[in-house]
Symmetry: C2
Subunit: 295 residues, 2 copies
């Protein structure tokens, strides 16, 4: 495994992922986070804490980035004191953020001019997956660079796939979100029908949950909707951000995907009614509002 690792972005996902690298990779770990105090626990376990992306990246063989959105990644790589100003030729940048596939291709080209490889590597599995080291990681970029970082990804990834060239990891993540949130629309509409029909939710879920109607979304979020539990696993505002990336891509390609466009509209309704911090199952609330049950 590489000797020197940098990890930039210690949020709800990045912090446990960096922790796994520290414990399992055998490498020297340097971390950076805008809010420095979040690095304290890792510092106590032996990580070096840097003051900027540039300082963290200096001399590193592999540099991980795990932030929220396209501009955050651009700033982390190319901004003032960005990692590109110090990263050495031959190093690999692994971007775990979920961002634009198009922007990813552009970032990869700009880094390639400095002989730095970029692997886009968005994850799914949530903070639980990050803590337990069971994330799915969807990777795009040069295959030999992917192969070099694969042992590091295995520190916290369970299903790790090389999906194709630069940007194809991000494209695969968008496919994943279309499935996740589109399936959840069917669950929310079904639970609306359950309510209107006067059916018992638990009995109904047991009756339909084992056959062709079965899904992860139904099994995990159906009971929460029935119980009125809208606490977040994955938050509505982050779902809306991913849907923005989906629809940006869809619009750039002049692609017609009416279902997922509808899902975005329903999240707009949830968020404009104060539900940004709710879990994705709060899409049910938009249907409830449409049907006069809440606001």
């Amino acid at each position: 495994m590489p000797q020197s690792i940098a990890f930039l972005g210690l949020g709800i996902m990045g912090l446990p992922m960096a922790g796994h690298l520290l414990q399992k990779s055998g490498g020297k770990l340097t971390v950076y986070n805008r809010t420095k105090v979040k690095a304290d626990a890792l510092a106590k376990q032996g990580a070096t804490v840097a003051d900027s992306p540039a300082a963290a990246a200096k001399g590193a063989d592999v540099i991980f980035v795990c932030v929220s959105d396209t501009p955050d990644v651009e700033a982390m790589i190319f901004g003032e004191n960005g990692l590109a100003s110090t990263a050495k030729p031959g190093s690999v940048v692994v971007d775990h953020s979920t961002i634009s596939p198009m922007a990813t291709k552009s970032f990869a080209q700009r880094l390639a001019a400095k002989s730095i490889a970029l692997i886009d590597a968005p994850v799914s599995g949530g903070d639980t997956g990050a803590k337990n080291g069971t994330l799915s990681i969807m990777c795009g970029g040069d295959k030999s660079a992917f192969d070099r970082v694969l042992p590091l990804l295995q520190c916290y990834g369970k299903t790790i796939t090389h999906c194709g060239d630069s940007g194809q990891g991000q494209a695969t993540k968008l496919v994943n979100q279309v499935l996740v949130l589109g399936t959840l629309l069917s669950v929310c509409e079904a639970m609306t029908l359950v309510k209107k029909s006067g059916l018992d939710p638990q009995t109904t879920l047991a009756a339909v949950g084992a056959g062709a109607a079965a899904s992860w979304q139904l099994q995990n979020l159906g009971p929460k909707i029935a119980a009125g539990d809208f606490a977040p696993g994955f938050r509505c505002d982050l779902a809306a951000k991913d849907l923005r990336l989906v629809l940006e891509f869809v619009d750039q390609q002049e692609l017609a995907l009416p279902g997922i466009a509808l899902v975005r509209q329903l999240y707009n309704a949830v968020i404009s009614n104060g539900g940004a911090g709710d879990g994705t199952q709060a899409m049910f609330k938009a249907l409830a509002m449409l049907n006069g049950w809440g606001g």
Copy 2:
């Protein structure tokens, strides 16, 4: 178990279900089908073949109906030579057809006037489930009548649920179809995005299929869409019929379920382009048409 059983409607579902009753129930079976030749195989195994619903139902303790749509059920029960003209007081009619919950309630009331119970018992699991005896059966109606027929239902049902009063089995089936076909919309949109992105379908399905995006529809129909295999498990024209029942109910209740209304529109497009006999995964073809890939 009851001694005398009638089974009306020997289609792709009814024929194997009646076969299970003949083999396992220990009762005397009389069958009726409009096209009489379809009863030949059962006749050879010992079933009596009747010339009308009335003739089949005469003296039966339990009378099964398994036809296509609301008017078919009404004709089988209340039409000329319908079962209601001969069925004895205290008998139970079990309707395995997927029909209107509202009409079911009305039929149950009309039969109750003759001291005949009606259990609505739509199934899911397809012809494979019927052959293997692994159907899910969603039942509505009087609980004591349900309990009396349960041992017979166990001849071909795996998950058998009493969902509530008359019509609630049908309502639960509608919930099931909203989940099945709404989830399939997300699968078809995801496969459209896969195609437009130039992703490899098999790699993508492997990358996303194990996590929060997982569903029966993705696992079973995703690979078929990728392979251009539109052979029916469940046919588009029957899906459109079930969606008509969903939307009839939704409209009667003035309920807003925009996602499943969209799904019906896409099936209209598939059917008007000659896809009535395709499998439900042909919803992908409607999206392909929207995106200029086929017609």
